[in-house]
């Protein structure tokens, strides 16, 4: 297990460096001068050259990348052009809200997905299966930002039960686990949960169906094992794959929250990314994407290791 873990960690290093390279290059595919946001329009040639040297934009690209990577490793991702605050601090503060949202959505989406998937898998080709599968297809096909709008229309505009935007009664900085705050979480969390719900349902349904049709299940039943015991075998065999899918979905929720956070003005990393894009705040844009991608990479690593811990066959592959 230790050897496998070590091998997986070593394999992640080049990925991390390449991810950093992509984030670094993002700023350089941006049309126009990267200094355009800080330079006044009537700046002289000398001032422009001075600033370019100060930011290091006059050096060759590989050198710039090396220096940037070195600073990033020390936790220095530069400062936001819009606010002047360090990028890392800004991103980490916002990521907390995104994690809250993603975990709430994961609890809803995974529970629903596992239940629907198991039921559909057990009652294949019956009307129960058809209903569960339709839910799953609708979940993966719905434009979630539109679903968010629909929920706001129904529960905020028409019924006036839940708030439409924001993350708490007193602004965004003080999250607490009480109803006054939680009611702000309900709609964004339900909206975020539909895609993982759909995907987990489809995965668990396929896994359950496959396992139930295998010979060993027949043998267990023939041996006289009660249904509860058979069910335990189904869970055990489905767990590694289902876990991997759920881990990946959690990563997608963390990294792909921008649309939902924009609809609900949820002050997370996606909302931050949105403002970074429209204020042309390139250091913030770069830093947010880098940190979200690194989250995703490490989550995948954890999933791989967890999967190998449950299922020893994976280590050999």
């Amino acid at each position: 297990m230790l050897a496998y873990t070590a091998r997986r960690i070593v394999y992640v290093v080049p990925i991390v460096i390449s991810v950093a390279l992509v984030c670094f290059l993002l700023v350089h595919i941006t049309p126009g001068d990267p200094l355009v946001a800080v330079l006044p329009a009537d700046a002289s040639q000398e001032l422009a050259a001075q600033l370019r040297a100060a930011y290091g934009f006059d050096r060759p690209l590989p050198v710039q990348f090396g220096l940037w990577l070195l600073r990033a490793l020390h936790g220095d991702l530069g400062s936001s052009i819009a606010t002047g605050r360090p990028v890392l601090a800004e991103v980490m503060r916002a990521v907390g809200n995104t994690v809250t949202l993603a975990i709430a959505a994961a609890i809803i989406g995974f529970t629903m997905g596992i239940l629907l998937g198991l039921i559909a898998g057990y009652f294949r080709e019956t009307w129960i299966d058809k209903v569960a599968t339709s839910f799953a297809i609708a979940g993966v096909s719905v434009p979630h930002y539109w679903l968010g709008m629909l929920l706001v229309i129904i529960f905020s505009v028409q019924l006036n039960w839940l708030p439409a935007v924001g993350a708490g009664p007193s602004g965004s900085n003080s999250w607490a686990w009480d109803w006054a705050h939680l009611k702000y979480l309900v709609l964004p969390a339900i909206t975020t949960s539909v895609i993982p719900m759909g995907i987990v349902t489809r995965t668990v349904r396929a896994l359950t169906g496959d396992i139930l049709s295998q010979d060993f299940v027949e043998a267990l039943r023939a041996k006289g094992l009660h249904e509860r015991g058979v069910f335990r075998h189904v869970i055990k065999n489905a767990a590694p794959t289902a876990l991997a899918v759920m881990g990946l979905q959690l990563g997608y929720m963390l990294g792909g929250s921008i649309l939902i956070e924009t609809v609900f003005s949820w002050p997370g990393s996606g909302f931050l990314l949105n403002s970074a894009i429209f204020q042309r705040d390139l250091p913030l844009l770069q830093g947010t994407i880098l940190i979200l991608a690194l989250f995703f990479v490490f989550l995948n690593l954890l999933v791989d290791i967890a999967q190998a811990a449950i299922d020893p066959r994976i280590k050999r592959g």
Binding site: S141, P143, W146, V152, L254, G256, I258, T262, L273, A293
Partner: protein, 300 residues
């Protein structure tokens, strides 16, 4: 001299064999999918949306760009405006139908482009193997380190708003996914007997890939690509929704949804209409792709 016609006939026979088999196979798949009611219903809905988008100028609709301050945000069912009017008083029915033109192009074109690029890359990587495979597949891995929504937004955010930029961004998102599928199916058939036979008879790598590999892997890659259209439609409209794709006053579903967001307190159901169009197209492509997948799975 006697060798030349021999290998030529052998090659011709090899070329003919998979082609005639493929025709029979696709006829069967076609017949199976025609019997699938859900797939046919979805195909019909999509056909209607496509046809109305293409024929929009000849349908006698209102001008989708012409607004009026005195008839803003009319409700659904208003005489003369069956689906109401938007925040600038433009006819919603006309804008939804015209909106299909841009929305479908920016949603589907990235998948078509990625299908061409990804299939070529994947087949080359899978067939040639070795260092080239490592180079292509490790590059693909890097893009897998980003959640697709984040990657699409990062690229189009860096490139700036615009239809072309959002198409480029989405193509970049889908190329790695299609490449990975193409590579794995190609690796599966590269050592099959008839490929070995073609290689032994002296066929070049390019000919083998074009004639023997392509026909045998295209189906699987195609089904995978059709399943991406749903995601692509949602993402493309999502980019416009954020303000990164289409620019006003163009009718496009994602952008319409964005500009109508402020109207949800006044006329909520009109504001929700563009999203229903995206949902309809997305779910139809998803169900059609599922139907195609099971129709192609002849063994069951």
């Amino acid at each position: 001299m006697s060798e030349v016609p021999l290998s030529a006939t052998a090659d011709a026979a090899l070329q003919a064999a998979p082609a005639s088999k493929a025709r029979g196979y696709w006829t069967t798949v076609g017949r199976r999918i025609m019997r699938d009611k859900v797939s046919m219903a979805c195909a019909l809905v999509l056909l209607l949306i496509f046809l109305s988008a293409i024929l929009a100028p000849w349908l006698g609709l209102e001008d989708p760009y012409k607004g009026s301050m005195i008839r803003r945000l009319r409700h659904i069912g208003t005489t003369g405006y069956p689906l109401g009017t938007d925040e600038l008083g433009r006819d919603m029915l006309a804008r939804l139908i015209y909106g299909g033109r841009l929305s479908l192009v920016i949603g589907i074109l990235p998948v078509i482009l990625a299908f061409c690029i990804g299939t070529s890359l994947g087949i080359v990587a899978g067939y040639v193997g070795g260092k080239l495979n490592t180079a292509i597949m490790r590059t693909v891995d890097v893009f897998y380190a980003f959640p697709s929504v984040l990657l699409a937004i990062a690229i189009s955010g860096a490139l700036g708003a615009g239809i072309l930029n959002s198409i480029v961004a989405l193509t970049i998102v889908f190329v790695p996914q299609i490449t990975r599928v193409a590579e794995s199916v190609t690796t599966g058939v590269r050592n099959v007997d008839f490929v070995e036979a073609a290689r032994a008879s002296g066929a070049g790598a390019f000919t083998i890939m074009r004639v023997h590999i392509l026909g045998n892997v295209l189906g699987a890659i195609f089904v995978y690509a059709t399943s991406l259209i749903s995601v692509s439609m949602i993402l493309a409209a999502g980019l416009s929704f954020l303000g990164l794709g289409t620019k006003p006053p163009e009718p496009e579903w994602g952008l319409m949804l964005n500009t109508l967001r402020t109207a949800i307190y006044v006329n909520p159901w009109v504001a929700a209409l563009p999203g229903a169009m995206i949902f309809a197209v997305s779910i139809c492509f998803n169900l059609l792709s599922d139907g195609l997948r099971s129709a192609m799975d002849i063994r069951n």
